[in-house]
């Protein structure tokens, strides 16, 4: 690691463009080093180790804990020939699409858009409550929704007069989609709020002057300005939603695996069944899927630009 002082003095190496504060590569690395060190040690290292575990039959207990065997790609073959894995993957994709891409993004955008044209006090109140859902710890929010959706005493049944509908049992996936939308919309709302603030009003006005409707305004004026935000937002919330474990506290993956999204699948595999090797292998598969999705997003947005 070069000492931070190495970069000073008149004989410094060539400065990069964009390097407005005159950091220089050496000092930039020095600034980056503590974070990278922490990340390597407590993130990259365990993560790589996990990937290695995915190649063994390691279990939390039992004889495989004592002498884990290297099994190569067996775990991957098992996963890819397991109906429950594909069931789980399908549910996860529905869950991500429903709660993140549609739910959080669309609702977040709709709220952000509407809030640009209401009174300030209304906006403050709405934003506060949307954010509250996001800030309250997950063990609390899941309990709130458990109470809300309860079959016999739930608030929802009382409100909708839907008798004893067992929401979490009859509509488990829908329930966790709504729940995750409720929890996560705040981030999209915030991001889109600041994105919308960056759209020059003059451009919107000139679009209106030539008679552009709401959709045309969005497509031709708003979207080009917030493209980057849409990308950031979709990318982050997709990753977050893909990896969220919180719905476990609501449905525990059930009933009958009908809300068994991948993080819950892995949790149950790793903790309840103790099959850590298999769980690690599926973690890697999950990361690869995340990677593919991220790449697709980046492509899509780049293409639409050109």
């Amino acid at each position: 690691m070069p000492a931070p002082a190495a970069g000073t003095g008149p004989s410094r190496a060539v400065v990069d463009d964009g390097d407005v504060a005159g950091l220089g590569k050496a000092r930039a690395m020095a600034f980056l080093a503590p974070a990278l060190l922490l990340i390597s040690l407590f993130l990259v290292f365990p993560a790589l180790w996990t990937l290695y575990l995915g190649l063994t039959n390691y279990r939390l207990s039992g004889s495989a804990a004592k002498n884990p065997q290297f099994v190569g790609v067996d775990n991957y073959i098992n996963a890819l020939s397991d109906d429950r894995f594909f069931n789980s993957l399908g549910l996860t994709l529905l869950f991500v699409f429903g709660s993140a891409v549609i739910g959080q993004s669309a609702l977040g955008f709709a709220i952000a858009w509407t809030m640009t044209r209401v009174r300030k006090s209304v906006r403050a109140v709405v934003e506060f409550f949307v954010l509250l859902a996001w800030i309250i710890p997950s063990s609390v929010t899941t309990f709130l929704w458990y109470a809300m959706l309860d079959r016999s005493n739930g608030t929802l049944n009382a409100m909708l007069s839907t008798g004893n509908t067992a929401w979490l049992l009859d509509y488990p996936l829908q329930s966790i989609i709504v729940f995750n939308t409720w929890v996560g919309t705040a981030f999209s709302m915030l991001l889109f709020s600041s994105a919308l603030a960056s759209v020059p009003p003059s451009q919107l006005e000139s679009a209106r002057m030539v008679g552009a409707g709401a959709w045309a305004q969005f497509r031709d004026v708003v979207f080009p300005h917030i493209r980057g935000h849409v990308l950031t937002n979709t990318l982050l919330i997709t990753l977050w939603t893909f990896n969220t474990f919180t719905p476990y506290l609501l449905t525990a993956g059930g009933p009958d695996d009908r809300s068994n999204i991948l993080p819950i699948f892995i949790y149950r595999l790793a903790l309840n069944d103790g099959a850590l090797g298999q769980g690690s292998a599926i973690s890697l598969i999950m990361i690869i899927i995340n990677l593919v999705i991220a790449t697709v997003y980046l492509r899509l947005l780049k293409e639409r630009k050109s």
């Binding site: 390691y58 495989a64 002498n67 016999s152 009933p255």
Partner: protein, 470 residues
């Protein structure tokens, strides 16, 4: 830890090829049984899934307020300064099991750990725990007078492959509970004792005529977890005459298994004698308790836990003020009279927990002393306190269960016919497969399909059909 050591360790780890086995488990032989036997200063740690003011608070308070001070005092009399710590936990069993596994696997962990009897095999196979005689010496183990008070059946709780790994601290038994109020409304007797599965179904059919009453709750499905195995499948299977594991082989999709799944199918399928949705609910078991306490559920198979902690009028979570007068119980019948193992008419299943000693303890002798102390009659009486509970010790049971009709009933009538789950490493997974099978039937799948799926899953778990029987 110094910074230097921190970075040295970090560098060592990053440098890379840390053999998994080196870190992952501790198969090294235990240290000498007499290590530190004469130490004058001793530090011991106890852990359990109990926490003051929360889960299993009584157990936690007992350790902090009784075990530790009394033990320290006793040691002081011998001139030993003992320091005993308690690490409480208040989490679900899986999380606790994970933490204990991790601790034991790295040679960390408490000197005395409370574990569920069914984890024993897995822990032993993983090398996390060792037979008591290896840790403290055969003579020392046999010298304890407490063994005489623990029935051989109960000792099975902490026995694996013929060796004692710890000391059982309590057991339980399962009975059929029924609501006498609903029974009288349905014209059923208050001293009901079914003699066969059909008797149960007949009673349920009568209860079905009452409005807003679920006649019968037989736990099924993954959401119920182990409760579906212990309070559902296994007691029924026991009633077909064959245990789940015999001579090291697991029972596959046999006629017995088909009969049990058929029973589920009758209850949740065609006749709707039970509530299939409840079986899928993540908190279904709690709800069934609640319904039972609110006179909405007629018949329920449960352990004494229901009586002690759930519908207990003073301390229960779903208290039932008239518990003593309106709750009845009966032994679980075999499929038909004489169909149980060795021609038994009635069956039950029991579970329980025990304490084990960490093979890596620094003070094996003192840990054993502490464990003996915790398992002494006085200590167990102190633990049980005012809420009677079935202990592992006959002398204690004889003394404290007299006042409680149900516990006395279980201790005298049920324990003799009860069976324990096999303490085998594969049990947890087999149990999960059974939960799956019952859940599928409750959700409408045919017993044939669920049974063959179970057979397939079972072969995957135990490694081939030569380890199963029908």
């Amino acid at each position: 830890m110094t910074r230097k050591r921190f970075f040295a360790a970090a560098a060592g780890l990053l440098a890379g090829t840390v053999a998994l086995s080196a870190c992952g488990s501790s198969s090294a032989p235990s240290q000498a049984t007499d290590q530190n036997a004469d130490a004058k200063e001793v530090t011991l740690t106890i852990t359990a899934n109990a926490v003051s003011g929360g889960k299993n608070a009584a157990g936690a308070d007992w350790i902090t307020n009784y075990v530790i001070p009394k033990f320290v005092e006793a040691q002081k009399a011998k001139g030993v300064t003992a320091k005993v710590n308690f690490q409480p936990n208040g989490v679900d069993d899986q999380a606790y099991k994970t933490k204990v596994s991790l601790d034991l696997s790295t040679g960390q962990g408490a000197d005395i750990t409370s574990i569920d009897g069914i984890w024993l095999g897995e822990f032993a196979d993983a090398g996390y725990i060792s037979p008591l005689e290896d840790i403290v010496g055969k003579d020392k183990v046999q010298a304890w007078d407490g063994w005489k008070q623990i029935k051989p059946a109960v000792q099975q709780l902490t026995t694996y492959e013929g060796k004692q790994y710890g000391v059982p601290d309590g057991t339980d038994g399962r009975v059929i509970y029924f609501n006498k109020k609903l029974f009288s409304q349905a014209g059923l007797p208050a001293d009901w004792q079914p003699k066969s599965w059909d008797d149960i179904l007949d009673a349920a059919r009568k209860l079905k005529k009452l409005p807003d009453v679920t006649p019968l709750q037989i736990n099924a499905g993954k959401a119920m977890g182990e409760a579906a195995t212990m309070q559902g499948f296994l007691p029924l299977l026991q009633g077909t005459g064959q245990p789940i594991n015999k001579d090291g082989k697991w029972q596959g999709n046999s006629q017995g298994v088909q009969d049990v799944l058929g029973f589920y199918s009758t209850v949740y399928g065609s006749e709707k004698l039970g509530d299939p949705l409840l079986q899928q609910d993540a908190k279904g078991r709690d709800k069934s308790f609640q319904e039972f306490s609110q006179n909405k559920l007629g018949i329920l198979i449960e352990s004494d836990y229901l009586w002690r902690s759930v519908i207990n009028p003073s301390k229960g979570v779903s208290p039932m003020a008239d518990r003593d007068s309106s709750v009845g119980w009966a032994k679980i019948p075999a499929q038909a009279a004489g169909k149980g193992p060795n021609g038994a008419d009635f069956v039950s299943m029991s579970g329980g927990s025990g304490e084990v000693i960490n093979p890596k303890t620094k003070y094996p002798q003192q840990a054993w002393e502490l464990l003996q102390f915790m398992s002494s009659a006085d200590a167990i009486k102190a633990r049980i306190g005012s809420t009677p509970q079935i202990s592992a010790r006959d002398d204690v049971n004889g003394e404290i269960l007299k006042a409680d009709p149900l516990l006395n009933y279980i201790s005298t009538e049920v324990l003799p016919v009860t069976a324990y789950r096999p303490g085998l490493a594969d049990y947890t997974q087999v149990s999960a497969a059974l939960q799956d099978a019952t859940g599928q039937v409750a959700a409408g799948k045919s017993p044939q399909d669920a049974g063959s799926a179970y057979q397939k899953a079972l072969e995957g778990i135990v490694g081939g059909n030569d380890k199963t029987f029908k």
